[in-house]
């Protein structure tokens, strides 16, 4: 509700923006969930190994000539590393968007605490 008042100067009402954003999130969630429901016999393995299999099928004599230096010790460790990757990215993303949001609010509201602090100095 607080956001709504800050955005009134904008020509687009925030509620519809907000609704739009929720629709976008909902769409992504639905796209991820629907396969789990409609594909009954899916293994949902990584596409990596299947890609390898396709190459082995097409070129049975091909031998990979290089190995990764480091492989995650188990699928748990791989999961951890993927989670770290996502967390680093999402943290940065949230920080930036949050900073932008706070800054734009401070500019729109003359009595925002940020501005009062500047006035006092």
């Amino acid at each position: 509700m607080k956001d709504q008042s800050t955005d009134s100067s904008n020509h687009q009402p925030l509620l519809s923006n907000k609704l739009k954003n929720w629709l976008l999130v909902g769409g992504v969630v639905a796209l991820a969930l629907i396969p789990l429901v409609i594909v009954k016999d899916g293994k949902f393995g990584g596409a990596d190994d299947q890609g390898k299999e396709t190459i082995t099928k097409i070129a049975p004599n091909y031998k990979p000539w290089f190995e990764s230096f480091m492989k995650p010790a188990s699928s748990e460790i791989a999961g951890l590393l993927f989670a770290v990757q996502a967390a680093l990215g999402a943290g940065t993303l949230g920080y930036a968007i949050g900073l932008y949001k706070g800054r734009s609010e401070a500019q729109r509201l003359p009595h925002h605490p940020v501005n009062q602090k500047i006035e006092q100095e």
Binding site: G42, K52, P64, F66, A86, I97
Partner: protein
């Protein structure tokens, strides 16, 4: 109010298209690799793609240095573009084919800063995954970077400007750019694999490699498009100032 309805209508249309795609193609079929695995490109091809990628990387570094020198304030937005690719390529999302793949997240940065900087940001993601996760590889880094950090972003950039010019809607343009850029990445991957493994011809291999993964990737491309529009909405709402700075930069350094 009326102006607002158009993107939303387009959105629901896309959602319907996505759903129909699911229902029609919802059979189980094998999936294709997201990136080419370590050692799975013959030496000559691995070298070829490395050599092809290096100039793009140099170009990207140059743009990166130039942008941060002229507008130090934009560094956070740059970090955001990189972070977006980082998150999205870590998200393995189930698809209708009964396997998982991930989006690329390179469309946003390409549209904001121009495609060349994504050659640097995108390859950072690839290096992280190749070194720590054994996902992709160092020998195949050149090929993977050409598809994910060069071809996808450039396609996204051109599609964005093309769609923006014809439709006039930022939302639709961003969606198409991100979704099609994602697909182009995988089409190029299929092309690279079929060039290296023609059986018996490059074309039949391409049909084999491309036809299979295309189905897996379509819903993921739609997800990528939706997520990119989401971040774009936030940026437009809270940071229209820097978006305008970017617009004037891209007008000056037009890539086309």
């Amino acid at each position: 109010m009326r102006k607002n309805n158009r993107p939303r209508k387009a959105l629901s249309l896309f959602a319907m298209v996505g759903l129909s795609t699911y229902l029609i193609l919802g059979g189980a079929a094998p999936a294709q690799a997201m990136h080419i695995m370590e050692g799975y490109l013959p030496l000559a091809w691995a070298l070829f793609w490395w050599l092809a990628f290096v100039p793009f990387f140099a170009w990207g570094l140059r743009s990166l240095v130039k942008i941060t020198k002229e507008n130090p304030d934009l560094k956070l937005l740059l970090a955001l573009s990189g972070a977006f690719a980082f998150v999205l390529s870590a998200l393995k999302i189930p698809s209708v084919t009964g396997s998982c793949s991930h989006p690329t997240g390179t469309g946003l940065g390409a549209v904001l800063f121009g495609p060349s900087i994504m050659s640097v940001l995108g390859s950072m993601v690839l290096v992280f995954q190749a070194l720590l996760l054994a996902h992709g590889g160092l020998t195949t880094l050149g090929a993977n970077a050409m598809s994910m950090a060069v071809a996808g972003p450039f396609a996204a950039y051109w599609i964005y400007h093309l769609v923006l010019r014809t439709s006039g809607s930022y939302g639709v343009a961003i969606f198409c750019a991100a979704a099609l850029g994602d697909l182009v990445t995988y089409v190029v991957t299929a092309m690279q694999l079929s060039l290296a493994f023609p059986s018996p011809t490059i074309f039949t291999s391409f049909v084999k490699f491309g036809g299979i993964f295309a189905v897996t990737q379509v819903p993921l491309a739609i997800s990528e498009g939706l997520l990119t529009v989401l971040v774009w909405n936030w940026l437009r709402q809270y940071n229209s100032e820097e978006l305008n700075t970017l617009k004037s930069i891209s007008v000056r350094n037009n890539v086309l």
